[in-house]
Symmetry: C2
Subunit: 291 residues, 2 copies
């Protein structure tokens, strides 16, 4: 059982980290908007809109939206610190919730859909959840929209995986293969028999017994994401695309929608239990086709 | 318990009805493609493509697709006659399947997404399902995409409801209010607190004890649909629309996707149990935005 004062301090530190990471992500992605070449991406660079929200059942956060950008077609980056009481059904499946169903959770979640089919979509989400015990969870995964970029050997895939491996290996060389496998297993569309993207890492119920170490790991995942994704996006920023590429991207986005609404536990759970619709559904791609 | 020879005969008659209805639907919708005015709907009229499919677990059917039409943007109209064995979990919830989990099912399902935002999308589906007992189920519902057409008092809603009421009232005046209420309850998005469209009728486990009467009712529902929807579509065929109307339509289609992937039992069941992806997902709208 966590001492309440210790829990308060941990939540405050985790939330402060997520806030600071969000600020740096906003700055980095707004810079991408500014730096994208005008001949491929006409118009004015877009900026994030930050919007506080209050959760009726306790807590709240700040939603961040970038819509209709010239380089970033749609992006959400949200922070939350919420508290509440699990229903008996949920408590039964949550470590440390069997005697006392109260919980706190703080985290950051991000999804970016890019205008160019050459630039992969990306998702990152990390969180600290506490009941009478506590753990970190989250990960990051990359979704290139063109088949030619969707192998494990594709340059962006290699770059993305290397960055996340670096974050894991600083802590334990056994983590990366485990978390990569869990990501591949999770971001998979059984009805299509195909992966959502090229993967990344996914971890949950992560509690090594050393909170400081686990918090540092989640920070390292955030740092790795912030380092690697803008590098990948910049590397593709000057590449033109064809109508056929755009069509392939819009079809691929349909698979993204199918995954999020049919299988994503966070989305389904949030939508069916009165979560914040605006932030949950900000993951939906801006434009999609099912021809 | 149904005598096997009787069941075979009922399945054959139901399947023959669904086949004949499909042929008439195909003819009626291809005529809409032909008759739509060229100034609003440029290009050549599209035709249906019929494509047989075989179900690995037993049976099969014929899928019908109309894609990229000038008036009908995307439409699927599928026939099936399948047989198999329910899993124990499913058998537990199916009348007549507790002692013998074998089943047969034959039906027609249709979804049409129209190019003009002024012309509502529509769904119709009827089926005959048999275990050791048997019943009909299905219905039809209308989804206008513009807010101005989405009230119960809107002319198309009034027309659509009147036609289905006519089909019900021929059999029992108590049915229509019941089946309309079930439709409103089923085609509802709790996370949006909004209906999918303006409703229609929805019935299931429909077995009055008189198979001929129940079969006649399902035929009357098909006839009502075939009469009323083309009338509604023709009534709007000459109305121009604005960019803002099209945008509203594409956003509304996003809600249609959300409903089908989050809540529609048929879609979720089919996708998660190895159904025919191509026909199940032909319900997805051709172009969608989540701005």
């Amino acid at each position: 059982m966590i001492d309440p004062a210790v829990l308060d301090s941990r939540n405050a530190r985790a939330r402060a980290w997520f806030d600071a990471l969000r600020d740096r992500i906003v700055a980095a992605f707004e810079q991408l908007e500014i730096d994208a070449p005008a001949e491929l991406f006409p118009g004015e660079p877009a900026k994030f809109e930050l919007k506080p929200w209050v959760r009726e059942a306790g807590g709240g956060g700040v939603m961040g939206f970038l819509r209709g950008g010239r380089f970033i077609e749609k992006m959400g980056c949200h922070i939350s610190l919420v508290h509440g009481t699990f229903t008996p059904e949920m408590a039964a499946n949550m470590p440390g919730a069997d005697k006392d169903p109260r919980f706190t959770a703080t985290g950051i979640s991000l999804i970016a859909h890019m205008r160019s089919p050459k630039v992969p979509a990306v998702h990152m989400n990390t969180r600290f959840l506490a009941t009478q015990t506590g753990w970190f969870g989250g990960g990051a995964d990359l979704t290139p929209t063109l088949d030619s970029q969707r192998s494990q050997e594709a340059p962006d895939a290699v770059t993305f995986h290397a960055a996340l491996k670096g974050a894991c290996d600083k802590h334990d060389p056994a983590w990366y293969p485990d978390f990569k496998a869990r990501c591949d297993e999770y971001f998979y569309l059984p009805h299509r028999k195909e992966p959502r993207g090229i993967g990344g890492i996914f971890y949950d119920h992560h509690n090594s017994g050393d909170w400081e170490r686990d918090f540092q790991f989640t920070q390292d995942v955030g740092e790795a994401f912030l380092d690697v994704y803008p590098r990948i996006a910049r590397g593709r920023m000057h590449e033109p695309w064809t109508e056929a590429d755009r069509r392939e991207q819009l079809i691929r986005r349909g698979r993204y929608v199918e995954f999020n609404l049919l299988y994503d536990r966070g989305t389904m759970f949030g939508l069916k239990t009165g979560g914040n619709i605006e932030s949950i559904l900000s993951s939906m791609p801006p434009e999609v086709i099912w021809p």
